[in-house]
Amino acid sequence: MLSDKSKEEIKRVLNKYPNKRSAAMDALRIAQNETGCLSGDVMQEVAGILGMPAPQVNEVAAFYTMYNKKPVGKYHIQVCTNVSCSLLGAEHIVEFLSRKLGIKKGETTPDKKVTLSVVECLGSCGTAPMMQINDDYYEDLTDEKIEEILSKLP
């Protein structure tokens, strides 16, 4: 069950949209901020609030990589592997992170600290290759930079 605070916030953002359906992405974002990932129950609840069929909320959530369908660790590393990043070595970065963390893409470390994901374009092609950890961007990545970033994760 979503908290009253999240429900209030969803009701507030509804005002921004011409109809309830249009608020699906915003509502899912708010829900995910609270719950960490979008389980079936959470999507059902969002669907109920928006008056949408649940499969359609599921469609939206499944389309975007920003919505977590599985629980993620404390730090969620999302590496962009779209065109610009790939040309500048994104595959190597994924492989490097994977080796460093001891997990494959899509997995979470056993201590639930870090999750490694591969995502589509994050709109930072000018500073490729890049990754996002939780809400922050880390750009112009190199192996050394990544090691430093990882070592600084509290």
């Binding site: 059902q44 069929p53 649940a54 499969p55 599921n58 469609e59």
Partner: protein, 824 residues
Amino acid sequence: MADEEDEVETVFIMATVKINGKEITVEDGTLILDAARQAGFEIPTFCYQARLSGLGSCRMCLVEIAGQKKLQPSCVTPVLHGMDVFTENETVKSARASMLEFLLANHPLDCPTCDKGGECELQNFVFKSGPRQSGFSEWKRRFHDKDKILSPVIVKNHNRCIHCERCVRICDEVVGAKALGGIGRGVMIQSTGFMDDRLDCDHCGNCIEVCPVGSFMSLPYRYKARPWDLKEVDTVCPYCATGCQITIGIRNGEVVRVKSRINTGINKETLCARGRFGYHFIQSRDRITKPMVKKDGKLAECSWDEALSVIKQMFGSGRRTAGIASARYTNEELFVFQKLVREVFKTNNIDLDSRFANKWVTSAMIDACSLAAGGIPIFDALKADLIFIIGSAVSDENPVTDYLIRTAASDRRKTLIIAHPRRMKLDSSSAISLRYKPGTEGEVIKGIADFIENGGESTSDINAAAARFKNASNITMFLGAEILRLANGVDVLTGIAALKALLKRSGKNIKCLPLFDRCNQRGARAMGIHPLFLPGLKKVKEDGMDCGEMLDAAKKGEIDSLYVLGEDIVSMHPDARFAREALSNIKFKVVQDTFLTETAKIADVILPGASYAEKDGTFTNQEGRVQRLRKVISPVGDSKDDLDILCSIGGFAYKSAREVFEKIKKEVAGYKDISFEELDGNGAIVTGHGRQSLSLKGTVPLLSGSDNSGQQSIKEDKEYPFLLITGNHLFHSGRLSQRADILMQLLPEPFVEISEDDARESGIVDGEKVVVKGNGYEAAMKLRIAKGSQKGVAFVPENFDSVSVNMFYKKGEGIPRVKIVKLP
């Protein structure tokens, strides 16, 4: 045609285009695809379906348009005057082959183990225009090794999906269940239910029907047959009166599937769960296959000769006798049945269906819907700008009619108004859903009429609805069979007739169609299964008794013998105790049926008849469309074609349904132009029976004893706070469907449905077990909550032997009262 005035002629702007050099003039805005088909060129498609919104995703229909560099998808591109289109040149053919190559890049090609093999659209197109080799050497996408069972009827293989999204669109736009979505992205999309989990949907199987490949498959039909092993016969669905065309497939004498055909029948390619999966009763083990005669108080099997001779003895002339028939029989059988009752038993005591109040209300229905004035094709009726439904939970009672209305109402220029106590699926398409307490239908109608006549503030829902009536120029009303159950049904129907007259006076076109829940309810009336009417709805000289009067007479010992054709009076008559008691007073009862019903159990002779798959004949659906029933298999065991049975008892010489139909054409004016042999997938609409109105005015007693206000006195009752309505469930129809295994899996037991407010007040949660009590009867069942239903109303489906809902009724009472208590 009934009630029809001259409609405004629409002027179309035309466009002339060249398709492969052939000039054709079509209405402006026609899709290139349709124009090409009209010109005689077939363009292959996957994602295109005429009744669904355009998607243009499969790219199979790409065509070349002179002057345009890129090929265009013809299924979403309208013609422009002067366009020069090529659908079969080398560029187009090569594009088509490439698109197929792309589809095959991920399609598993497991055709030898796929149910669709042999009737697969992908297989056919690849065979016809596909590449023989592929340039792709990569791994194919693979979601799972084992197919996923999504419901008792649907099994899904994601690997085979080609992303045409027909399933998602038909579920959303036509069925309205909105149970499917395209989950995922890009090539990894899975068209499936919420979380790819078990589907809790309408189980109609239309996703299976529209799937061009073997991605959605029918679980009951799984691995049962190959399409080329099947013998397929086109016939008509035996459940509700929508009259869907179905195709029954049999293999080695076993019925293995029911499907619908594209562009055939009013249902086109859709069916409901009952129609598609409700066929297992045909070859059920419980069928009665031998005649039985009561000897020493016990029913014992006997020979046909013995059974028939006993009947002939007992129905001799001079006896006080009566006949009741079910509306599931063909026109031909019913015609012969009324001949038997009227000419051999020499009585007008004949009625259809034991559920409804009386002959006056059924006559008033015939009148209100102008059944005597001929049929109205539903698609004509749905052209109206206002569609009004009252007295039917249409989504449950007539699911495919629900699809048709939904599709029509998706046109924003149309208004749909639904008046019913229960929430229903179709509400999502309605502009206004009027809720009322059952029994107050008359007030709803009167409220609408008052507002139209006198005006007022459009604050209430009824007034808002009335305002829409005022603004509309073409109005279609659908009247449900529930009105027939009401104690004040005549008043309600009189009110509707008055409303129709009022609207007509203000210059509107009105069409009125019945919504019946039995396949041949309309045909039966035309065949003279009514105590007041002969075939062709001609008035009898001496009124017969209706079912209620027969039972009254029986109670007094004034009926000696009764012939029951397929009707289960004990289970269906609204007062089970009274019906059983009255029937036990009749010395000799014959029941002709396919199953040992509660009524058959107390019969003196039982004759095993045939199911709809075992006979020829015609049904007339609620529109007045006559459609052909075709024999698929021989009657099981020693059972016989019902027509043969009736003819041998009556001594009639008819050899076939066709011969009877010829006789019907002579006696029933509306059928005279219909050719039995030429009835195809579209059937034929009956014409008028030669009179517009039955003019029963003055002769109909007002049963409620009130004035004409149409109000049934509904007293508050604290002890029994709920008004009970009963009817069919989406998965069930009468008592027949409980013999169909798959339907019983979909809904194995009855439930009681109440509104959310009532549930909250009584502190009962969804799914909790409760006891429904009333009229000295009680039954335990699960509770279901319907958000948006009328407060103070409970619904229980009438389809189960395990709960005899008619025990809640007292004779003559349209709407019984019940209470609902939690199980301790």
